[in-house]
Subunit: 417 residues, 2 copies
């Protein structure tokens, strides 16, 4: 008998029929002899309805009251699921964040979990009761309702798994698992049976929207075995593991991409110590997150300084940079919103040289010009013209043989055009 | 400076505009120097939506989970009102039943309040904060969410008024107050500036739907000054008082009526001790509430036994009685669903004889046959053919001069036709 946490998102509890469907899944897992804790999000659309009601009441709704309103979404879906389970003869009991004693700090809109008192849930599990917990919410030490921020139900599930020392935390979504690339772009993309925590973290931060980045970090910190799988398909999904136990680990696991980027370059920056912070400082102060930073040495004692930001922050960043350029006596600022980032992720890169050059070779063969490059231990990211995104992703996917089950040691076969 | 509890029902918080309107009213009362606790119901229609969702999930929803779902209605409206008040520069804070520490027993669907821990609310009031409390809900000693039953927001308001020793508990509704009769039936009906608690209790139990009967009982028990007034009209409404302080107290205060009644008669019941309980027993066991009971002595050692029930319970009661009649060897059972009850209520009846005969006289003058009569210290109820309801109510209203402001001592002037 294992203890399993199952988390169902908004689309999985989208309507009455879907709640009945996941009840069936919960019952099946219980009949297999497992103890089950279910974490649910609000029914699809419900959170948006509550958010817009709030914005009709106040331009900037008070954060404490906003959390109180929005938290009702999960309270409804958890009670509906529990009453349906009970109706089908299964012992079940729902818990709000407060009842589950998910203690957080007092940042009402993006609270962080500081403690979970599991005694009551543990007792219910011992009594064979299916425990249904509202995702996305907690309570601060004074009893105020808090929310963990959008997508926070994943965090609730992982935190409960850590606190209860669960055998597995299953995140049910509307996709079958983590793919080698987005199947909408690469039809041959394969669902990965397993991926390491570090790879998943890179994928999540690179725009693969399967899991909330914070939930992955949390899982990593507490070594919670995480599985991503489909609510409505009968498959094993993807296990996010913490050991590189397999010898036949593929060199690369997958390709992530992000179209929501824009690039800014300050040209002719005088080469004087402190210049980088003069440029980046005002951007950070404006709360604009920076992704890649690249500095190329130029001629005549100047350099070009390039970085990328989220596309919706581009106009603001451009405005700030134009002032900065004048102050530091740079030649000027250019920018481009029509870019895309493609990233190759894989634990195997650590021990394999030549992955980067293979990737550049594949892109070159397709006539795709690489604008920027950034690398980490387990990923290589390139920025290309947005129009080459799909072509580039498909070419890399095929070139690294990601559509095929990995062999013992896979070496990319590069075929010149 | 007074401490005032204001309770707003579902129609008063029916939409965004109405919530803004009541916020205005709350602000006005605060600016007049009062400390304010607001109790709100769910937005109109919301409770019904949650109830039908629940019934889609389970034929008979588990009562604990049902309360969890339904309680979200008030949680949404309280947070919307609080965030709007804050948006308008007023310090405000919302409280769920659990946060307000409204402790109840564990009858999840119709819980009774056993205690309220007011320390946190009191502190907020001392700090000049408008306290907004979810009506209709509480928590049991174990932290489970409970609901007080439909209309329970009135009870929440009265209970808070009692616990906080408030100066006045104002129940805002969609009517201007308590009228001498239903203005839809009697256009001349007058809004009463004051009514005693006992009269209000009779009015409430006789079908005048201004206040929930339980809330009135609660107010009586704890001597809470209660005022019924309109959310959307600027008037003082009706004060429900606990003293007969005025010499010029009118003999009768108002007329209540109830069309939702049906009459059943067991004929030719043998006159043997214990017969009444043989008839009424099986009806009570079937959870059918009985209103009036009248027994008329018949001929030859038998009696006719008549009582009234709510009209929707009539078929069930008739079926039970037919069995009972056979068992006790009565002659048979007859029934009539086309009846209406008209009741005259007034504290002054205690000291005035002849009110009953005046009432019968008025009805007789209109050619209305009286089928049943029941009296208490402060009310006289008659059952008549349903078709005479409006005629009877209007005639009694006019005959007792209820459309006129009461003079020192009013004696009904009866004019023969």
């Amino acid at each position: 008998m294992a203890l399993i946490i199952q988390k169902y998102g908004g689309t999985s509890v989208g309507d009455i029929q879907k709640i009945q469907q996941i009840a069936q899944q919960v019952i099946k897992a219980q009949q297999e002899g497992h103890a089950i804790v279910v974490v649910v999000s609000a029914m699809g659309g419900e959170t948006n309805r509550l958010v817009s009601l709030s914005h009709e009441m106040a331009k900037i709704p008070d954060e404490r009251e906003f959390a109180v309103a929005v938290a009702t979404g999960e309270q409804v879906s958890m009670s509906l699921l529990a009453m349906h389970l009970i109706d089908r003869g299964v012992k079940a009991r729902s818990y709000t964040g407060q009842q589950a004693q998910i203690i957080t700090d007092s940042q009402y809109k993006k609270a962080r979990i500081v403690d979970i008192n599991i005694s009551s849930i543990r007792k219910d599990l011992d009594d064979g009761i299916v425990v249904v917990v509202a995702g996305f919410q907690g309570t601060d030490a004074k009893g105020n309702i808090t929310t963990l921020g959008r997508g926070g139900s994943d965090t609730t599930a992982v935190a409960l798994a850590a606190a209860l020392k669960a055998d597995e935390c299953q995140i049910y979504t509307d996709v079958a698992g983590v793919f080698t690339a987005d199947p909408r772009v690469v039809p041959e993309a394969r669902c990965l049976p397993e991926i390491t925590f570090e790879e998943m973290l890179e994928m999540a931060s690179l725009g693969a929207k399967v899991l909330q980045r914070r939930a992955v970090e949390f899982a990593g910190k507490y070594q919670v075995p995480l599985r991503v799988l489909s609510s409505f398909e009968n498959s094993l999904g993807t296990l996010i593991s913490f050991e590189e136990k397999k010898m036949e680990k593929p060199v690369v696991s997958g390709i992530a991409f992000n179209k929501n980027e824009a690039k800014l370059t300050v040209m002719g920056v005088p080469v004087i110590p402190g210049m980088a912070s003069s440029i980046i400082g005002p951007i950070s102060e404006a709360n604009i997150d920076i992704d890649m930073i690249i500095q190329n040495m130029g001629q005549e004692g100047t350099t070009d300084f390039t970085f990328t930001v989220s596309r919706d922050e581009y106009p603001k960043a451009l405005e700030i940079l134009q002032d900065v350029a004048k102050t530091i006596k740079a030649h000027g600022v250019i920018g481009d919103q029509r870019i895309a980032k493609i990233s190759l992720v894989g634990m195997g890169m650590r021990s394999h040289s030549g992955i980067a050059s293979s990737m550049f070779h594949i892109l070159g063969n397709e006539g795709i010009n690489i604008q920027l490059i950034a690398t980490s231990e387990i990923k290589i990211s390139v920025v290309v013209d947005e129009k080459y995104l799909e072509l580039g992703v498909r070419a890399i996917h095929a070139g690294f043989g990601l559509d095929k089950e990995p062999a013992e040691e896979f070496d990319p076969v590069l075929v010149d055009k």
